[in-house]
């Protein structure tokens, strides 16, 4: 196990920061390239600089010095960068989630945090908690169920337009600028993990003009799919997913398979992924389907023996 990453999460953070800086620099460079030409012409006329001067790499490889007053943010460009890095992911990582069913008490804080972050309606679940009963003899238990982020995802195979895609670092994302709303992915997913925007999204008004971030899938769009994204936007910031951080009961572990390390969202304790799975007999949902999920479950010890009634038609919110 790599000690430095375990003991010092800042390290990871820093390398991510650096990556973001790099992306920013390239993006900025592209803007500045155009701006520089414009600025150069303009400065000829009135040789007065306004603010600080910034050294930037132009698109043709030249280092140029530009007055910061001339640098503008182009929304189109920012969106393009968001798409680019959203599809590329975070190289060198393989994200995994472990859900400890012995800890879940159906607090549903994970759901609240998730729905708030992704601007979802109450019946739209990126993650849902299900009341499971495996056989008539066994007791019931609560099972949080996010997208399983399969390594062999049936939903991605069937998508006709590459709107839903598998990232090298694990998550299966959906690009709602691309989605045509055919819902073949819903039909193909054995985990019922996918949700559709049947009407105008909940925050359609409020999100007007917000730049689309494919890692957050906000703004939501009418007529397109939405789904759990492993909180890819948070991963980019070096943070744990929304649901993982929100859980009060220590249900979730999240981490990087490449580092063989997972961190508990509640206790912030970090431990070995392989050992956690081995000691607790971790398993996957329906592995026989060959989907190779990236979400693991630890068996439901300490089951709650009685459930409240009226579950079937219950609708939270």
């Amino acid at each position: 196990m790599e000690e430095k990453d375990d003991k010092n999460p800042d390290n990871k953070k820093q390398s991510r920061r650096k990556f973001i800086q790099n992306v920013g620099l390239i993006a900025g460079g592209a803007v500045a390239g155009g701006a520089a030409i414009y600025a150069g012409l303009d400065l000829e006329k009135r040789k007065l600089p306004f603010g600080e001067r910034l050294k930037l790499l132009a698109a043709d490889g030249k280092l140029v010095e530009v007055d910061t007053a001339y640098i503008e943010q182009s929304p189109k460009l920012v969106e393009a960068v968001l798409q680019l890095e959203g599809r590329e992911g975070l190289p060198g990582h393989k994200w995994v989630m472990i859900i400890d069913l012995s800890k879940c008490r159906n607090a549903r804080k994970c759901i609240d945090a998730c729905q708030a972050a992704h601007h979802l309606r109450p019946e739209q679940y990126h993650i849902n908690t299900l009341q499971m009963k495996d056989s008539p003899l066994t007791a019931s238990y609560h099972m949080p169920k996010p997208c399983q982020h399969c390594d062999n995802p049936p939903c991605v195979s069937v998508c006709p337009v590459d709107a839903t895609f598998k990232r090298p670092d694990g998550p299966v994302l959906i690009d709602n600028e691309r989605c045509i709303g055919c819902r073949f992915c819903i039909a193909a997913c054995p985990y019922s993990a996918r949700v559709f925007n049947w009407f105008d999204p909940k925050d359609a008004e409020q999100d007007k003009g917000v730049l689309y971030n494919v890692e957050l899938n906000v703004p939501q769009k009418k007529g397109t799919i939405t789904k759990c994204l492993f909180s890819s936007d948070r991963l980019r910031e070096g943070k744990l997913p929304y649901c993982v951080s929100a859980c009060p009961n220590g249900v979730y572990w999240f981490g990087d398979e490449m580092e063989d390390a997972v961190t508990n969202g509640t206790t912030k304790e970090t431990t070995s992924l392989s050992e956690l799975l081995k000691i607790n007999a971790g398993y996957q949902l329906m592995p026989e389907l060959g989907t190779k999920p990236r979400v693991y479950y630890l068996p439901p010890k300490n089951r709650i023996f009685q459930f409240e009634e009226g579950l079937k038609d219950e609708h939270k919110g």
């Binding site: 069937v158 006709p160 045509i180 019922s192």
Partner: protein, 434 residues
């Protein structure tokens, strides 16, 4: 002989004219279509949520209807290509009807699938960003090819009739103009006939694999998923054999009304109904065979998720629809049509209409129940997520597709003779020689 030819010409071109009854019928259809299109405008504005489909059952009436339309369109291939290439003569006066039906259903199937899209304005993305591993892409490709070949198979054998029509049709003038443009300077020389016959032959051979492909690929939209009820290796042939049953229903209904309304009793005879009845028994038996395989084999094993699905069909929420579809879509046609009396025009029409409905419901039964029984429980959702109930708007949009098919069929059958005139003349000549 000349008299006989003249009689055939005037009989078959008599249907090509616009009378008041026909204009009224088309007007009625157009008004109904307009109402249904209003329903679609509501869907565009509000979202797909105006339909009863939700996150669990996300494919409902639209997709069932799409499958039904693709199925019905296969009849063109069966009658013109399979029977035509086998040299079966009695089919001749029915080939154009079959091709018109095939073309209408296949073309409108494309529209039906658009009505199911959450973002129809992004249709072009399928071509711009198309990914080859998605069965949707295969479906789009083969359906387009099938529409093109069917259009050609309708058009090429029409050319000699078009040339004939420029002589026969007096008014309206514009129609004569259309005929003369479309007849591409057909003189009826042996060379022209040779070219026409060989190109039709090529198309007839081509359309067989393409038609098999469209319905096989349509079945794969379901069969490539791991879900109980869809996870089947025989879905391709199961769909194709079912398609012939559904298609014959449409052709029989069309035959009956063309015969009555266009006074074609001499050309579409009780004998044709009799033969179509026998053909229907044959294809139904093939379909029955696949049904037995599709239900008995998983029913014997009763693997857990399959057993839930099967009990929903046999005795559960879908039992009524399921048994209706199996009874009127399979058992009744097979049993009744063994009797000669039942193969007369009127009983045939009755059976065909029941069969038509049963075939549509059969597609519904294939598409919907599987989705109501997912692997994981459906919880914490509004009750309308748990069971699928089609809405009025969705029904109206579905009706629109049927109205459109009717409009295309009646339109084409009024613009052109529904029975190939030159082939009837050829037949008369052959009979004369005997």
């Amino acid at each position: 002989m000349e008299d006989n030819f003249h009689k055939i010409e005037s009989d078959l071109f008599r249907t090509v004219r616009l009378n008041r009854a026909h204009i009224l019928w088309m007007g009625l259809l157009s008004v109904a279509l307009a109402v249904c299109l209003y329903a679609y405008s509501l869907q565009l504005r509000t979202g797909l949520g105006v339909a009863g489909i939700r996150d669990y059952v996300s494919w409902g009436m639209y997709i069932s209807n799409f499958v039904f339309f693709v199925a019905s369109s296969l009849i063109g291939m069966l009658l013109s290509a399979v029977l035509g290439l086998l040299g079966i003569k009695w089919i001749r006066p029915l080939t154009r009807i079959a091709e018109i039906i095939a073309l209408a259903f296949a073309a409108v199937a494309g529209l039906v699938i658009i009505s199911d899209m959450g973002r129809p304005e992004r249709l072009a993305y399928v071509f711009i960003y198309g990914r080859f591993q998605s069965p949707i892409l295969w479906d789009v490709t083969v359906v387009t090819v099938y529409v093109l070949i069917s259009a050609l198979l309708l058009y090429l054998p029409l050319i000699p009739d078009l040339a004939m029509g420029t002589r026969v049709i007096e008014k309206p003038k514009w129609l004569r103009k259309v005929y003369s443009i479309l007849s591409v300077n057909w003189k009826g020389t042996p060379e022209q006939f040779r070219i026409m016959h060989s190109s039709i032959r090529v198309l007839l051979v081509l359309i067989i694999p393409v038609a098999m492909a469209i319905h096989t690929v349509t079945s794969w939209l379901f069969a490539v998923t791991p879900r109980p009820g869809w996870n089947s290796t025989i879905f391709g042939p199961y769909f194709v054999s079912g398609a012939f049953v559904a298609g014959i229903a449409s052709v029989v209904i069309a035959m009956y009304f063309f015969r009555k309304n266009y006074r074609l009793e001499k050309y579409i005879t009780p004998d044709h109904f009799d033969k179509m009845g026998k053909l229907l028994v044959l294809v139904s038996l093939v379909y029955l065979y696949f049904n037995i395989n599709e239900f008995i084999v998983p029913g014997y094993k009763l693997e857990r998720s399959e057993s839930i699905h099967l009990s929903e069909l046999f005795t559960g929420r879908f039992a009524g629809l399921f048994w209706f579809a199996q009874f009127f879509g399979l058992i009744i046609p097979i049993v009744l049509l063994l009797f000669k009396k039942m193969r007369r025009p009127l009983p045939m029409l009755t059976i065909a209409i029941l069969l038509f409905f049963a075939s549509w419901i059969k597609r519904f039964i294939i598409v919907v129940p599987t989705q109501e029984n997912p692997f994981l429980p459906m919880q914490h959702v509004p009750s309308n997520f748990l069971v699928y109930k089609p809405t009025l708007i969705e029904t109206a949009i579905t009706l629109a597709s049927f109205i459109l098919v009717l409009l295309i069929i009646t339109g084409l059958s009024k613009l052109f003779p529904v029975i190939p005139v030159w082939e009837m003349k050829e037949e008369a000549e052959e009979n004369q020689l005997k």
